[in-house]
């Protein structure tokens, strides 16, 4: 695995950056409701949130691999919870629009909004 850290902070405290990773539940607090006007906004927000989440997960993985250590129990638990929230949010979206999982990709604009 390639080292993804090009320049680390002076104090070498990479953990401080990890703590800045928001929980998906916070980011999704304004997710889709019954108001049709908010649907598009909700979709856009969800897509952006997921993209940002993926990006941050990749960064975190990169940092972890450099430290050479595994994740702490708490981090593993947080990660698991995050993915559960992600699953649930996607499921709600599908229920709301009556879409199949495959449709969801298309509906959110494959290639319409590249990552």
């Amino acid at each position: 695995m390639k080292d993804k850290v090009l320049a680390a902070p002076l104090n070498g405290d990479l953990d401080a950056f990890e703590r800045k990773i928001p929980h998906l539940s916070n980011a999704l607090s304004r997710r889709i409701d019954a108001d049709p006007e908010s649907v598009q906004q909700g979709l856009a927000q969800l897509v952006l949130t997921i993209v940002e989440l993926l990006r941050q997960l990749m960064e975190r993985q990169a940092l972890r691999r450099i430290d050479g250590g595994g994740l702490t129990d708490e981090q593993v638990e947080n990660l698991g919870r995050t993915f559960m929230e992600l699953d649930r949010a996607m499921e709600e979206l599908r229920d709301h629009f009556g879409l199949e999982p495959e449709d969801l990709n298309l509906d959110l604009g494959p290639l319409g909004r590249l990552l």
């Binding site: 090009l6 680390a8 990006r55 495959e102 494959p110 990552l115």
Partner: protein
Amino acid sequence: MIELLAITDDPVAPPPPLRLVPAGPVAVVVGPAPEGEVDAEALWDRESLLEDLVDERALLPIRYGTRVEDDAAAAAAVVPRGAELAAALERVRGAVEVSVRAITPEGEEAGDVGAVHARLSGLAREHARHDGPEPLRAAYLVDRAGVDVFVAAVRELQQEHRGLSILCTGPWPPYSFAEPR
């Protein structure tokens, strides 16, 4: 079901199981859709694939989880946007994304992220500032040959701005610059 990974215009076939599906002036890099749940390991695997590809060709990463039925559906999704995707490839050709985040360490006064961003933007082809909890979360599209100079600038800025903790990661595929205009 196949998964779409990236848009490219390089005719060289990617390593299996990835394949190239021609789509007008560009081509789509596709692979078998992974089974099972999304987890960090799956994301990282995908990132590794993209990184290997981006080392050798210009590419636009496609949003994670984009799947279609078959090659014909992949081409059908891309062909109508061939021209703008080709233009987008020109924008990122020869460049990589470098991510910079800056936070204020506990007990320090907030540093001047505006100055940091201005200096780094001057060294990048393009830049994109993202919303986030940090005072600065930004992506810079940097010429491959200019990455060392960019990183040296980040180190200098870190020395000059003791009120900031600056983390610079990369090189990444051009995630923040993949959207056609």
